[in-house]
Assembly symmetry: C2
Homo-oligomer: 356 residues x 2
C-alpha cells in the first residue's frame, strides 16, 4: 500500500514522476538505453538539461531577465561555501539572518572568509519565529537569508529591501508560491523537497553580480565556470536532473507557482485549523511565521503519544516524527503532497480526540 | 531493442541493477515508498549506506585495515580540490604524474595550493603511453596518479614505490582487477563507470593520513568531517548510493575483483586481437600500456568511416565514437559489458574487412 509520506526531505514527489523515472531507468526515450547509462554529452541528455534549466527560470518568472540556472552537486551545504567564495570581496563583509540550523550553518562557512554580520537571530527561542525590524548594513557585499526553516516550521513571508545582492536558501519552499523572484540575486535549493531526488542543487544566479571579488576561486566552486560550461563543467548527476525536469514539467502542467500556491494554502489551512481547534495539540511556530511547507506541532500531554503514534501509523502515514531539536511532530506538506493525505492526518488527530 | 552500450561514462551497468533500481523507484524494499522519497535518516537507507561502504572495502580487500569508504558528491573533479586541501601541508609540496586530461586537471587544482611537481608527462605524445622510470621527490606530502586514462585508452599496470602517501584517481578502472589496494592511502572514483550512475564519488581513505596539514578546511571539503558523520554530513545522493550498492552486490556475487579481472582480460584480448589482426584498423595507445577498460583505435583509411559507422550502428552498438581530443573510436568495455557485446563489435570490424 502506498504510504502518506510526510518526510521533511528527501520527500514525496508526484506519483507520475516516480512512474516516468522508473520507466526511464529501464528504457529512456525509447532509446534502448537506461537513463543511468546514457552519456551526459548525448543529444538526448543535453535536451533534458536545457529543458530543466528553462523550466526552472520560467516557473520562477525569471526568463530573459539575466539569470542562469545551474544543476550542481553537493547540496545546499556546498553552496554555503560557494556563496562567500563568489560574492565576498577580499576584506569584504556579508550580512546574514539567523533563522535556524541551516542558516546558522551558512553563517559558519561565511565567517571563515571574512567579516560576517548576523543582523538578527531567533536562536534564543529555539528558532520558533522569524526576526523582523532588523537593520541591514549598507557596506556589505551581499545579504543572505533562508526562506523556510524545515526543522522549526517557520517561513519568511516578506523579504527585506537592501541595495546589496539578496541571496536566499530556498531549499524547502522553492516553487511553492508566487512571489517576485527577481528581488533575489542568487536563489539556491537542494532538489530533495519540491524538485527532485537528493543529489542535485538548483542555483539560480543573476549573472551580472559575478566576477567582482578579486578572489582566485577553485574551478568547481566558481559559478562563472559552471555557467560557461552550461552546467556541465564535469559529469552532472544525470538521473537527479532528469527527475527534477519531470517534476518541473508536472508543476508547469498544473498551472505553475500560482496554482500550487493556492493548493499549498488549502492544505496548510486544513492542518493548522485542526491544530488550533483540537485541544490535544498545539503549534510550535509563532502563528504569523508558520510555514506552509513544514507544520510543526506537539501534543499537550505527552502521555497521549503512544496512542497517537499508533493511530497515524495505522492510517498509512510515515515520516511524521519531529526533528530531534524540536521534538513532537512535523508534517511536511510539500508541493507533491495531495490534500487527501493531509485529510488522513487531520482525521487521525480527530480520532485521538474521540478516543481520549 | 537493448543497445550494446560502449559509452565511456556514464556507462553500462548490469541489467539486473537497472531492473532492481527501476523497481525501487516505484516501491523500495516493499515499504510503500519510492527510493526517491525515503529519508536518508531512515533505518532502511542507513542500511544501504552501510552495506555500500562495507562492500566497497571488502571488494578492494581493505576491510579491517584502517580505511574508511565515503560516498560523496561533486565527481572526481571536486576530489581534485579535496586532495590538496586534506593532504598538502601549509608551504608543503606534492608530486603528480601527468597521464591525461584528468590527471592534468588534478594538477591544476593542486598548483593553486602549493608547490606541485610533475614527475613525468606523456602530453607531447597526446598521452598515448604511461611514463615510467621517473623519480619521485622524497620531501613530498603525497604522490598522485591516475590509474586509467579514459580518453586515451592507457592504464597503469604497476604503481611506483614511495614513502609518501599514494593517492590514485581510479574513476575508470576501480573494481576491475585484483591488485594490492593497500598500497594506496586514498583511492577515489566517480561512480559512473564501474560502480553506478553519475552523482556520487567513492573515496576510500586510510584514516591515519588525515589531520596533518595545519590547514583550516571548509566542512564540506574536509574528509575527517565526512568520516565523523559516516558519509552523511549532509543529505547524501540516496539513489546513486543505492544503485552503487546494487552494482557492488552484483560484483560480489560474481566472484569479486578476481573473477571480473579474468572476464575483463578475455574481453580486452578479443578486441585488441582483432585490432592487431585486421589490416583496416590500428590501436592508439602504446601496446604495453593498453587499457583493459577503454580500447582506443582508428581506421587506417578515413574513407572507410561512413561504411564502418553504418555497420556498427546497424548492429545495435552505441557510444563508440572516440573523444574529440583523440578521434577515431573508443570501445569502453567496463565490468558490466558482456563478452557477447564485444563479439558484436569484433564481428562488425570483420564485416568491414569483407566489404572493402
Amino acid at each position: 500500500m502506498k504510504k502518506h509520506n510526510f518526510s521533511a526531505g528527501p520527500s514525496i514527489l508526484p506519483q507520475e514522476v516516480f512512474e516516468k523515472a522508473s520507466q526511464a531507468v529501464l528504457n529512456f526515450n525509447n532509446s534502448g538505453l537506461s537513463i543511468l547509462e546514457i552519456s551526459h554529452r548525448s543529444k538526448d541528455f543535453i535536451a533534458v538539461m536545457e529543458e530543466a534549466q528553462a523550466l526552472a527560470l520560467e516557473l520562477l518568472g525569471l526568463t530573459g531577465k539575466g539569470y542562469q540556472a545551474l544543476f550542481l552537486q553537493g547540496g545546499a551545504s556546498l553552496e554555503f561555501l560557494r556563496i562567500p567564495y563568489n560574492l565576498m570581496k577580499e576584506n569584504g563583509k556579508a550580512a546574514y539572518l539567523d533563522t535556524g540550523t541551516w542558516a546558522s550553518g551558512a553563517i559558519k562557512q561565511a565567517k571563515a572568509f571574512g567579516e560576517t554580520v548576523v543582523v538578527a537571530s531567533s536562536k534564543d527561542d529555539n528558532y520558533n519565529f522569524i526576526p523582523k525590524g532588523y537593520e541591514i548594513p549598507t557596506d556589505i557585499d551581499y545579504f543572505h537569508c533562508t526562506s523556510n526553516n524545515t526543522i522549526f516550521g517557520t517561513q519568511m513571508k516578506e523579504f527585506p529591501k537592501t541595495d546589496a545582492p539578496l541571496v536566499c536558501d530556498m531549499s524547502s519552499d522553492i516553487f511553492s508560491k508566487d512571489i517576485d523572484y527577481s528581488q533575489f540575486s542568487i536563489i539556491y535549493a537542494g532538489a530533495q523537497k519540491n524538485m527532485g531526488p537528493a543529489g542535485t542543487t538548483l542555483v539560480v544566479i543573476k549573472e551580472e553580480i559575478l566576477g567582482k571579488t578579486g578572489r582566485n576561486i577553485p574551478a568547481m566552486l566558481d559559478y562563472s565556470q559552471h555557467i560557461a560550461k552550461e552546467s556541465m563543467y564535469n559529469t552532472p548527476p544525470v538521473f537527479a536532473v532528469y527527475t527534477s525536469m519531470l517534476t518541473l514539467q508536472w508543476l508547469k502542467n498544473l498551472g505553475g507557482v500560482e496554482a500550487i500556491e493556492k493548493m499549498n494554502e488549502t492544505k496548510a489551512n486544513l492542518l493548522y485549523k485542526e491544530i488550533d481547534r483540537n485541544p490535544l495539540f498545539k503549534g510550535v511556530a509563532k502563528a504569523e511565521d508558520r510555514s506552509l511547507m513544514n507544520v510543526t506541532f506537539t501534543l499537550n500531554n505527552e502521555e497521549h503519544q503512544p496512542i497517537f503514534d499508533e493511530l497515524w501509523k495505522a492510517a498509512g502515514i510515515s515520516g511524521l516524527n519531529g526533528h530531534r531539536s524540536v521534538g513532537g511532530y512535523r508534517a511536511s506538506i510539500y508541493n507533491a503532497m495531495p490534500l487527501e493525505s493531509v485529510q488522513v492526518l487531520v482525521d487521525a488527530m480527530k480520532e485521538l480526540e474521540n478516543k481520549i
